[in-house]
């Protein structure tokens, strides 16, 4: 009952006038993050129909200069020899209410950490930093690429946070908190963080989710405990983010069934168009 009311409340709150302004800022990333955004298919269209205007996105929208935004999804790390990128990320911070590091390059440097420069045709492009090293970031969405579903969840929760009623704001705040905490925790995460923060602290339960989340299969389980191949690790931070012992948001996660229904409810009309 309570849940139905929540879903109804979202429908009421969706009036077009209240759409939030969403932007995709593209730095040194492979466009995989943007593909993940688009991989929400009808759900993405539904978000654009009812909840957000895409006000900036080099690939999809014809806008040249970074505008004022409610939520900026930033893909890729910053090449600090590229003045334009450095200006872009500063501009993004100044003009956005919420800056989201979209994907592991923006959050942790990821594969771009391994750049050494020296190649044609601009050999001076050689040092790449996650955006958090240059500006304050509000929310992290780690993942290489980030999963479409997490982007969708964050987009809907950001909408509820900015435009929802009190109850929705509270839920969105609770949902986003761990992703905000990740943004505060720092700009480097790799398998070592599981070692330092989980395994060494006597918290690992051998569940195996770290291995499942690793995009390069750098993690094997030896007698139940994760063993990372540090030569393979690309520093995407996924294993750390996914581990139930890095963060576990008990009251939000125990609401999994109703939150899933709220999200499904918010995206419902999009599904009907399939």
């Amino acid at each position: 009952m309570e849940l139905l009311e929540k879903v109804e409340a979202i429908k009421e709150a969706k009036s077009v006038a209240n759409k939030i302004k969403l932007g995709h800022v593209h730095l040194s990333g492979c466009t995989g993050c943007l593909v993940s955004v688009a991989d929400n298919y009808q759900g993405f269209l539904k978000i654009l129909d009812d909840y957000a205007d895409l006000v900036y996105c080099l690939t999809l929208a014809d806008v040249r200069h970074i505008p004022e935004m409610d939520v900026a999804l930033v893909e890729g790390s910053v090449c600090i020899q590229d003045r334009e990128s450095v200006e872009d990320i500063k501009e993004t911070r100044k003009k956005s209410r919420i800056v989201v590091a979209l994907g592991s390059c923006a959050s942790y440097g990821n594969i771009t950490r391994f750049c050494r420069g020296g190649q044609h045709n601009q050999p001076q492009h050689e040092s790449y930093l996650p955006i958090g090293d240059l500006i304050d970031v509000d929310v992290y969405i780690p993942g290489c690429p980030p999963s479409p579903e997490l982007i969708r969840n964050v987009a809907i929760m950001a909408y509820l946070l900015l435009e929802g009623n009190e109850e929705q704001k509270a839920l969105a705040g609770r949902y986003l908190k761990p992703l905000m905490d990740l943004a505060k925790r720092g700009t480097t995460r790799c398998f070592c963080d599981l070692m330092n923060d989980v395994i060494n602290q006597g918290l690992c339960i051998g569940c195996g989710i770290c291995a499942a989340s690793c995009p390069v299969r750098a993690i094997a389980h030896e007698f139940g405990k994760p063993q990372g191949d540090l030569n393979l690790c690309i520093k995407c931070g996924s294993c750390y983010g996914a581990c139930p012992r890095s963060f576990f948001n008990p009251d939000v996660i125990s609401e999994f069934e109703s939150i899933n229904e709220i999200i499904a409810g918010a995206l419902k009309e999009g599904e009907k168009d399939d």
């Binding site: 969405i141 339960i205 690793c214």
Partner: protein
């Protein structure tokens, strides 16, 4: 919906056992976990299930994606050591191409699955494709070497002669294929426990669709919590089709009271451990994973 601080949310709780003779023969308890996954597979509710099957050493589980009744049956009986069960969660949807994944596992593994659904960090396709999660009650788990030491050094049985292991009535029981039973007092087992279990705040798999365990029900029967809409629908249909014999939990001995007592014991003790972690050093804390 009942909401209990120790037993979690649930629609109903019953005592039950499978009516399938083949499943019952090798089940740990009432064969609930296996019968439910087989049913879900046969009904098309899932395309395959992640279960803890036989590994390369005796009683060492190997998580794998079972795609047939036969494979699900191979995973029967509790192996009291770590099975990195959810390491297959994303692969099940990708390499195995499953659209509807079933998962069995202990409480913390249910937590991992639900976190992966709600915060899918590098877990593309997982959130919508977990179709059915069956959780087991769990007091504590052991590393493989530890369970081997308990069986071989404490119970004095060769690992390969063991038919079934069991915790209950204050003891660890080791049953051999030839019908011999050895017991080890529970207090001797504590030092072998996995330390990560000592902060675990769940005894009855609160986050599963359906959770089951032996405690509370008579031998050969299981205690079953039906927890979610998905779980309730599957359970109702399976019972209507005669897959399970059921009894109201109020009518069996020792009943829900014992489940509650053990849940409370585990969770209160582990809350204390979390408290101790807060002052582990001098003005220094160990991490609290729930903070």
């Amino acid at each position: 919906m009942i909401e209990d601080p120790y037993l979690g949310k649930y629609v109903t709780c019953v005592s039950a056992r499978s009516t399938d003779k083949e499943i019952l023969k090798k089940a740990q308890d009432g064969g609930i976990a296996t019968a439910l996954m087989v049913y879900a597979l046969e009904q098309g509710i899932i395309d395959g299930a992640i279960v803890a099957g036989k590994g390369d050493l005796p009683w060492k589980p190997r998580p794998f994606v079972a795609m047939s009744r036969e494979d699900i049956l191979k995973a029967q009986r509790a192996k009291y050591n770590i099975s990195p069960q959810v390491s297959w969660l994303k692969e099940a949807t990708r390499s195995f191409g499953l659209d509807k994944v079933g998962v069995t596992g202990v409480c913390c593994q249910m937590q991992a699955v639900r976190k992966a659904q709600l915060y899918p960090i590098n877990m593309r396709d997982v959130p919508g494709k977990v179709a059915f999660a069956v959780g087991l009650f769990c007091m504590v788990n052991f590393p493989y070497d530890s369970i081997q030491a308990l069986v071989e050094d404490h119970a004095n049985k060769s690992f390969s002669s063991v038919k079934k292991m069991e915790f209950g009535k204050g003891k660890f029981f080791v049953h051999t294929e030839r019908g011999n039973v050895s017991t080890v007092p529970l207090k001797e087992t504590h030092k072998y426990e996995q330390s990560g279990c000592h902060v675990c705040l769940d005894y009855v798999s609160n986050l599963a669709d359906i959770s089951t365990g032996s405690v509370g029900s008579p031998d050969g029967w299981s205690t079953v919590f039906i927890r979610t809409k998905v779980g309730n629908e599957i359970w109702s249909k399976a019972v209507a089709e005669g897959l399970f014999e059921t009894k109201p939990i109020e009518e069996v001995k020792p009943g829900l009271g014992l489940v509650m007592k053990l849940a409370k014991e585990k969770i209160d003790k582990n809350r204390k451990t979390l408290e101790e972690r807060r002052n582990f050093g001098v003005n220094k804390a160990l991490r609290d994973p729930y903070a």
